[in-house]
C-alpha cells in the first residue's frame, strides 16, 4: 500500500484514486472505509464510486467541482480516515449443495488436488472470503483467500451456459455465477439463493469489503431454500461483525 494515494485522471468526469499496487487485505480495508466516508459525508459532486482491488474510480460532476478540487477534497478525506474505527464487513452466508449434478467438476477438482471430494468441500467451506471487487456481470464477486491446495485450472473449453448460482473454482479464485452465462470455471456446487435479483431491494446482496462464507447444505435444505426464494420469502443470512465504531 502507498503512504499517500495517487490521483490519476480518467477523462473529464472521473478519476482514479489509487491506494496500492498489489492485492492485499489492508488496502481493501482502506478502500472500504473511504467509500463509506464518501457516502457518509455526501461529498458534493461525487456521483458514483467503483471500488476495486487497489483503487476507487470516482465519477464526479464537473459542474460542481473539477479534477483539482476533487483531488483536494479526497486527499483531505484520506488524511482524516480512521481505518481502525471502521466496522469489519458483514459476512453473507451462501448455502451450497456440493458435488453431484450441482457441482459436476468436483471429482476433477478432488483428483487434481489429490484429496477426497469431502476434503475439497471441507477446505472450500472452511473460511470467510473477502469480497475485493464486483464486476464482469451484475453481482459477480472477486473473492480473495482460497486455500491454494484446491486451486484448479479453468476448463480448456468454456461451457456455453452455466446456471445462475453455480459455485466454481478458476485457478486460485473461487466465485459464484449470479446470472446464467458462459464460462470456464470448474463447477463444484450450486446455491439456491439469488445473489442478483433486479426486482428485489437490495437487488445485489454482496458488496465490496464484505465477506462470503459458504455453508454446506444437502438436497433437502436446498429444496426448502429454493422454495422460499421462489416465493420471495427467503431472508439472506448475514452475520454482522461489529467493530470499534
Amino acid at each position: 500500500m502507498y503512504s499517500e494515494p495517487r490521483f490519476l485522471p480518467a477523462g473529464d468526469q472521473a478519476l482514479v484514486m489509487e491506494l496500492g499496487d498489489a492485492i492485499e487485505e489492508p488496502c481493501s480495508m482502506v478502500i472500504r472505509s473511504l467509500v463509506e466516508s464518501i457516502s457518509r459525508e455526501q461529498v458534493p459532486g461525487i456521483r458514483e464510486t467503483i471500488p476495486s482491488y487497489r483503487s476507487i474510480l470516482i465519477i464526479y460532476d464537473p459542474m460542481v467541482s473539477g479534477f483539482d478540487e476533487m483531488v483536494h477534497t479526497l486527499a483531505s478525506l484520506f488524511s482524516r480516515l480512521d481505518v481502525h474505527a471502521a466496522a469489519k464487513g458483514d459476512i453473507l452466508v451462501v448455502p451450497v449443495l456440493y458435488g453431484g449434478e450441482a457441482g459436476p467438476d468436483l471429482p476433477f477438482v478432488a483428483e487434481h488436488a489429490g484429496m477426497s471430494e469431502e476434503d475439497v468441500i471441507a477446505l472450500h467451506a472452511s473460511r470467510d472470503y473477502l469480497i475485493y471487487m464486483l464486476g464482469f456481470t451484475p453481482g459477480f464477486t472477486y473473492l480473495g483467500g482460497m486455500d491454494e491446495r484446491i486451486a484448479t485450472p479453468r476448463l480448456e473449453r468454456p461451457r456455453e451456459r452455466i446456471p445462475a448460482g453455480s459455485v466454481g473454482i478458476a485457478g486460485k479464485q473461487t466465485g459464484i455465477y449470479p446470472i446464467d452465462s458462459p464460462g470456464g470455471w470448474r463447477l463444484i456446487g450450486l446455491t439456491p439463493i439469488r445473489l442478483y435479483d433486479p426486482h428485489r431491494d437490495p437487488p445485489i446482496l454482496p458488496s465490496v469489503g464484505g465477506y462470503i462464507r459458504f455453508r454446506r447444505i444437502e438436497e433437502r435444505e436446498f429444496s426448502a431454500i429454493a422454495g422460499q426464494v421462489e416465493r420471495g420469502e427467503y431472508q439472506p443470512e448475514v452475520i454482522r461483525q461489529g467493530g470499534a465504531a
Binding site: 485522471p9 480518467a10 477523462g11 458514483e48 476495486s52 464486483l134 464486476g135 445485489i204
Partner: protein
C-alpha cells in the same frame, strides 16, 4: 405503438446509475446528445425512454395520437410513405406508419415520443441491458408484433425544429478529444505517439459495449494486464494485440486491461455515431481543459433547450 418490423432496436433512457459498484453496467443511450435532444424536441422533461436503433431501423404503426421526433443517424424515415425530417417534432395519428430503413449517415438513431416509452422501471431505469437481461421489454431487443405503451405526458410539442447550428454531421473521419490516463505510464513514448499521431479504423467487432479499432500498434512498456479496476465511459483500453477499444454505454464496470486515455463526455456522441470503416484520430488535452470543455458543453445543451422551448 405496434412494431411491424423490429430492425435492431432497444428501449433506452439516460442509463441506470448507482449500481456500478455492484458490477451493473449503466447501459442507457449510446449517443447521449441525439437521445437528449429527441426528448427536448417532443417536449419531454428529460430522461424518458426512447427507441434506439443501430444500423437498421424499425417500422412502427402508431395506435395513438403521438408527438415524435427522430434524431441521430439518418435511416431515411417515411411517415405513410412521405419523407420525415430529422431533428424535427411531428404529430402522428392512429394508423400512421413510420418506416425506417438501413442507416445512410451515422450509425445510431432515436425515436423520442412525448410521454416516453412506458415500460417498467427496473433498478431506477427503463434502459435495456442485454447482458443483464433487464430493462426495456424483458431485457431483450424489440420483436415483430411487440406493442409499446406510450406514457401520458401531455400532447407534446409538434413543430419544433433544431437549428442547423446544433445539428451534428456524421463524417467518416473524426477527431475525438481525450485525456491521457489513467494508465498512460504503461505505454512507451513511441506507443503514445502512435496513438496520438495515427487514424484508427472502426472494425465490425463493435457494439454497445465498445468499439474495437484497428491501426498502428500501441506499444506497452511491459504487459497489458493491470490489477482490475473501474472503467469509466469513454475509456480507451488497449488489449493484448496492442489495439484500442473505446468503451461505450454497456461497458463492463471493471476490467484488467490498460487504459491509455479516456474520450471526453462531449465527444462520446461522435464516437458512438462512427460507422464501420470510419477513421478516428485522438487529440489529447489536459484534465483542466477537459473539465472546462465539459462545462461549455452543458451550457450549450442548456442553450439548445431554451432555443427549442421558446
Amino acid at each position: 405503438m405496434r412494431i411491424l418490423q423490429p430492425g435492431i432496436t432497444l428501449i433506452e433512457d439516460s442509463g441506470r446509475f448507482g449500481y456500478q459498484a455492484f458490477g451493473m453496467a449503466t447501459a442507457g443511450a449510446c449517443d447521449p446528445y441525439a437521445y437528449r435532444l429527441g426528448n427536448v424536441l417532443v417536449g419531454n422533461r428529460g430522461g424518458e425512454a426512447s427507441l434506439e436503433f443501430t444500423l437498421m431501423g424499425p417500422t412502427i404503426e402508431f395506435e395513438e395520437v403521438v408527438t415524435f421526433a427522430l434524431t441521430g443517424g439518418d435511416f431515411t424515415p417515411t411517415l405513410n410513405d412521405l419523407p420525415v425530417p430529422l431533428w424535427h417534432s411531428c404529430k402522428a395519428v392512429p394508423g400512421d406508419t413510420l418506416a425506417l430503413g438501413g442507416v445512410v449517415s451515422g450509425r445510431i438513431g432515436y425515436l423520442a415520443v412525448a410521454g416516453g416509452i412506458d415500460v417498467p422501471v427496473v433498478m431506477g431505469s427503463r434502459s435495456t441491458y442485454l447482458r443483464g437481461r433487464i430493462g426495456g421489454l424483458d431485457g431483450r431487443a424489440l420483436r415483430k408484433g411487440d406493442i409499446l405503451p406510450v406514457g401520458t405526458g401531455g400532447a407534446g410539442t409538434p413543430g419544433r425544429q433544431l437549428d442547423d447550428a446544433y445539428m451534428p454531421l456524421y463524417p467518416t473521419e473524426i477527431t475525438a478529444t481525450v485525456v491521457l490516463g489513467p494508465q498512460d505510464d504503461w505505454f512507451t513514448e513511441h506507443g503514445i505517439a502512435a496513438f496520438l499521431g495515427n487514424a484508427y479504423e472502426v472494425t465490425n467487432s463493435s457494439d454497445r459495449m465498445g468499439y474495437r479499432l484497428q491501426g498502428e500498434t500501441i506499444q506497452h512498456v511491459k504487459g497489458t494486464d493491470i490489477i482490475s479496476d473501474g472503467i469509466p465511459l469513454g475509456a480507451v483500453q488497449v488489449t493484448g494485440d496492442d489495439q484500442p477499444i473505446i468503451m461505450l454505454a454497456d461497458h463492463q464496470t471493471t476490467g484488467g486491461y490498460t487504459k491509455i486515455a479516456t474520450v471526453v463526455t462531449p465527444d462520446i456522441t461522435k464516437v458512438a455515431q462512427a460507422s464501420l470503416g470510419s477513421l478516428i484520430r485522438f487529440k489529447a488535452v489536459s484534465v483542466r481543459e477537459a473539465n472546462e470543455e465539459y462545462r461549455r458543453y452543458e451550457e450549450r445543451m442548456r442553450q439548445v433547450c431554451w432555443h427549442l422551448e421558446e
